[in-house]
């Protein structure tokens, strides 16, 4: 007890009924106390009778202060680590009015279509944006993350590939490592064999039902997918492609190059990295597979008055109806984050997205040129947002030391030639002085640029009203001026 007790008690705010009302409510039930209720509603055998080990309640303000001190223990450096996660600017209008807005974050899944039209419109925009970027015909309204989306793509490919005995799935060794491992986790219990290797070595035969490649790949290279798709299709296999949606603003759409399934993470469309999530992954595929695509799909129908109205489509695919025949257990997805990504695209518009993507590519190009003059080698002929460097005047330990002095994270590769790598943790270990070992994995050619995504499709959707202030997406939220190319970006992303 203190003379002046705290006044920021949260428990009474979380609980709906006031404690003074318990008696009246219990009275209706013919009971005297909450203890009485528990004794009558719960079998005695299941009551543990154990006091929790947790602390007593802390006050609302007290907990916010505690969380602020925890957040302060995290250090926010500039990260050029790539691997599918990128610094991005959340447009303030989206930050405050979507992500931080209970009118957007407290709804339930849109099962009751009539009172969910707003978010379904935003999700329809998400699907339209995904189709525009991927060049495919049907998209869902988000999946959990890129790696699980890739695993879902594998399962989809297996369901639709001709020939039931096919059991092998080829995975490019230039996919992000976490994607490869999640695909392995998901493949093993299903009895699929996962073969990881260079795309050039992919051997398609009648055992293979599909393959997975990354576009641009984890080494920031952009390969032309056409030859691969032709080889795969000739053998009756499907091509799944994990693609960075911002790169797709400039690059030819994978669907037009022949990819059958495209997945990816829309995090860099304005969603904070958050140490890994939540972010919305996407999946798109060909129309003929629409009844096989996992997750929820928003579709257009009409209401009783004959006007357009949105709803969840093809609900019969879902596991709550199909049960043992279910092909995916996906249920909750990432609606709020998909809405953020979709509104990011609306906010910037096709020209704005293109400007952001070109700015990134331009900066990385200039950076590569400057570093080459300093003696670094980067072998990419086709790149989007990162460079893999080797052979420069500094060894990797020195690069690391200098980068860390400026609070910059670079991705250091394990296949280093210099000795210092042996003292580094192997997995994220260093090296701008490393080189890719195999010439066989050289990129082929730059895919031709294509027109950017087409415009919003509904009257009243705003065109961009500001030309330059919010265009730069290439920083982290905490570091508003990180678009500068002068930072020593070795490889990774968003220069």
């Amino acid at each position: 007890m203190t003379a002046f007790p705290r006044t920021d008690d949260f428990v009474s705010r979380h609980l709906g009924p006031r404690r003074a009302q318990y008696g009246e409510m219990l009275g209706l039930l013919g009971l005297d106390s909450l203890g009485d209720l528990v004794a009558r509603a719960m079998p005695a055998r299941i009551l543990s009778g154990r006091e929790l080990g947790l602390d007593h309640a802390h006050g609302e303000q007290q907990v916010l202060e505690e969380l602020a001190s925890i957040a302060a223990e995290n250090r926010v450096w500039r990260s050029y680590l790539g691997l599918g996660y990128h610094g991005t600017r959340t447009p303030p209008v989206i930050l405050r009015n979507v992500l931080e807005n209970p009118g957007w974050y407290t709804q339930y899944t849109p099962y009751q279509a009539e009172i969910s039209q707003g978010r379904m419109e935003a999700l329809l925009t998400f699907q339209t944006m995904v189709l525009d970027l991927t060049g495919l015909e049907i998209a869902n309204a988000s999946l959990l993350d890129e790696a699980t989306a890739a695993a879902e793509a594998m399962a989809l490919a297996h369901r639709v590939a001709k020939g039931k005995d096919r059991g092998r799935f080829l995975v490019s060794d230039a996919c992000h490592p976490q994607t490869i491992e999640v695909v392995r986790t998901r493949a093993e219990p299903l009895g699929f064999e996962v073969a990881v290797g260079p795309v050039a070595d992919f051997a398609f035969d009648d055992e293979v039902f599909g393959c997975l490649v990354q576009y641009p790949d984890t080494h920031c290279r952009v390969a032309d997918l056409r030859g691969l798709c032709e080889r795969a299709h000739a053998a009756g296999a499907l091509v799944a492609c994990a693609a960075d949606p911002l790169a797709l603003v400039l690059l030819e759409a994978p669907g037009r190059l022949g990819a059958d399934i495209v997945v990816g993470n829309t995090q860099r469309f304005g969603v904070p990295m958050g140490l890994g999530g939540p972010h919305a992954a996407y999946m798109a595929t060909r129309d003929e597979y629409k009844r096989q695509i996992p997750g929820r799909i928003i579709g257009v129908s009409v209401d009783a008055d004959g006007r357009p109205a949105l709803r969840l489509s093809l609900q019969t695919r879902e596991q709550h109806i199909r049960r043992e025949k279910a092909t995916s257990n996906i249920c909750t997805a990432q609606v709020l984050l998909a809405i953020m990504a979709s509104m990011y695209a609306v906010w910037h518009g096709p020209e704005g997205l293109r400007a952001i993507a070109e700015r990134i590519r331009g900066q990385v190009g200039a950076l590569g040129e400057a570093l080459r003059r300093l003696g670094w080698r980067s072998e990419e002929e086709a790149f989007f947002d990162g460079l893999e460097l080797s052979g420069g005047p500094l060894d990797q330990a020195e690069v690391r030391r200098r980068a860390e002095a400026k609070e910059i994270n670079l991705r250091y590769l394990a296949r280093a030639r210099c000795r210092s790598t042996s003292t580094r943790p192997s997995r994220t270990a260093t090296s701008p002085t490393s080189t890719r070992s195999s010439a066989a994995t050289r990129p082929t050619s730059t895919s031709p640029p294509r027109p950017a995504a087409s415009g919003p499709c509904r009257p009243g959707w705003p065109a961009r009203t500001r030309s330059s202030r919010t265009r730069c997406s290439t920083g982290t939220a905490a570091r508003p001026r990180c678009c500068a190319t002068s930072t020593g970006c070795s490889r990774g992303t968003s220069a």
Binding site: L29, P43, I70, E73, A309, Q319
Partner: protein, 473 residues
């Protein structure tokens, strides 16, 4: 842009409008103070693969939250990696599978699942390479213990696991849960407890105490992460000590057990940015508050069930006539008596300003109401008043005072355009259509569209923005 966002937002009914009494979904308060830290740069701006010394704050957050969740579930270890309840199910089953394999029991691949289970359970079992065997439920919605014992014995050599939801999806604390767990263990299986309904257990009992070996927690249900209109969620799993070595690992960051199964998510801790929400909730409630929340969740559900007594039949109750934290209202008889189905009641509730309860789960043609501990008595009364008024409307159809078809239930919901149109040729008044309860005059939520035609949409599948002309009046 602001106006566009606001316009879309106003078309949706969220918790900012009214209670969302969705059974099994636990739409409780998402307090603003829990939400505020999510967008702080110290949580939001970190790349998932930064060196460990840059995420010390997160590591502290993970460690404390894991310890709390273990305390609450009665288990020894926790993995925050699964990104949704369904992913938690899959992960938990993989952990069980890995344990069997480590014990030289590779042939164990049968997963018992009660007929009342959520559809994700069998789907997760299939994905984990298991064969699903369905266990019968009795007339009260409880697992048929005889059938369970028989099937566990029949598959004793191959029994891998039982997946069971507790309290049951029928909203009842089953008496026999500990016997059920014992029976599975006797035949070499493990018990996976689906934590979807953990809101009714916290502080009073725990999956570990009940005899389970692993459970997932829907942090977006019991632990206050908002549903976000269909995500994000998180489905971490907690496990007994013998399963801890198998918790999932990650190729880029050291995490999980020393015999870890592979990663189940792209990021090592799933969706860390939303963990401060659950952390804040547990911290602000404390052990007494969490227990009281469970008690009040049970109180609110029983209060609703009792107030609706005589108007609707509650389908399942415990032996002493009480429900757990939710109740199933049997609306099936109205089909014969008035041609009214659960969906008509669900849509009519919109005219009263409410989101429908869960429809047709776990029993087709019924409504399942979960008020949660966060709804005030006044809101519960308003909801009950709406349900009672709807029952009167059904009675009017039953008694022929309103025709079948042309009544406010089957025509619901009513848009502003419909009730203000120049012509009105329905058998009930505009006032009855749009303002069926007093409070709707003070605060009216207008459904933006009338009843959506599901069949038309599936027959004419359009899943992209239609051309501008389609929206022209």
């Amino acid at each position: 842009m602001l106006r566009y966002l606001n316009r879309l937002q106003q078309r949706d009914l969220s918790l900012t409008t009214s209670m969302i009494p969705l059974g099994s979904c636990t739409m409780k308060l998402n307090a603003t103070s829990e939400m505020i830290p999510v967008t702080w740069p110290g949580f939001a701006a970190l790349h998932p693969f930064v060196p460990a010394d840059q995420r010390r704050g997160y590591d502290r957050l993970f460690a404390t939250l894991e310890a709390w969740l273990c305390d609450l579930t009665g288990f020894a270890a926790c993995s925050l990696q699964p990104n949704a309840g369904s992913q938690g199910e899959f992960t938990g089953l993989l952990v069980i599978r890995a344990w069997h394999r480590a014990n030289g029991q590779e042939q164990r691949d049968v997963c018992l699942i009660p007929g009342s289970a959520h559809g994700t359970n069998p789907a997760s079992a299939m994905m984990a390479g298991m064969q699903v065997v369905v266990v019968r439920c009795d007339d009260d919605g409880n697992i048929d213990l005889g059938d369970l014992r028989a099937k566990a014995a029949q598959h004793a050599d191959r029994l891998a696991a039982l997946m069971v939801t507790y309290p049951s999806t029928h909203g009842v604390f089953e008496e026999g849960i500990r016997d059920i767990c014992d029976a599975v263990h006797e035949h070499g299986g493990q018990v996976y407890l689906d934590g979807a309904n953990l809101n009714a257990l916290v502080g009073l009992s725990s999956p570990g105490f009940l005899g389970a070996d692993v459970c997932h927690l829907n942090l977006h249900k019991t632990f206050c992460i908002p549903h976000g209109g269909g995500g994000p969620g998180m489905g971490p799993i907690c496990v007994a000590a013998h399963l801890a070595p198998f918790l999932p690992g990650h190729p880029l960051v050291a995490t999980g057990g020393d015999k870890a199964i592979g990663p189940v998510s792209a990021a090592p801790w799933g969706s860390p940015a939303i963990l401060p929400i659950s952390w804040a909730y547990v911290r602000m409630m404390g052990r007494e508050g969490l227990r009281e929340a469970t008690e009040v969740a049970i109180l609110n559900a029983n209060y609703v069930a009792r107030r609706l007594h005589g108007h609707y039949d509650v389908l399942y109750k415990g032996p002493e006539g009480f429900v757990a934290h939710e109740c199933i209202l049997d609306t099936r008889p109205f089909k014969a008596s008035a041609g009214i189905e659960a969906v008509d009641i669900a849509k009519r509730l919109m005219d009263y300003g409410f989101h429908a309860p869960t429809m047709s789960f776990p029993v087709a043609g019924t409504l399942m109401v979960e008020p949660t501990e966060s709804e005030a008595k006044e809101e519960l009364d308003r909801f009950c008043d709406a349900m009672i008024a709807i029952r009167d409307e059904i009675r009017a159809v039953e008694e022929g005072r309103l025709p079948k078809g042309d009544n406010p239930l089957e025509q619901a919901p009513h848009t502003a355009a419909a009730v203000t149109a120049d012509t009105w040729d329905r058998a009930y008044t505009r006032d009855q259509a749009a303002f069926p309860a007093a409070w709707t005059r003070d605060h009216k939520y207008w459904p933006p569209v009338s009843r959506v035609n599901d069949l038309h949409g599936d027959r004419n599948l359009v899943c992209t923005c239609p051309p501008i002309e389609a929206w022209a009046e």
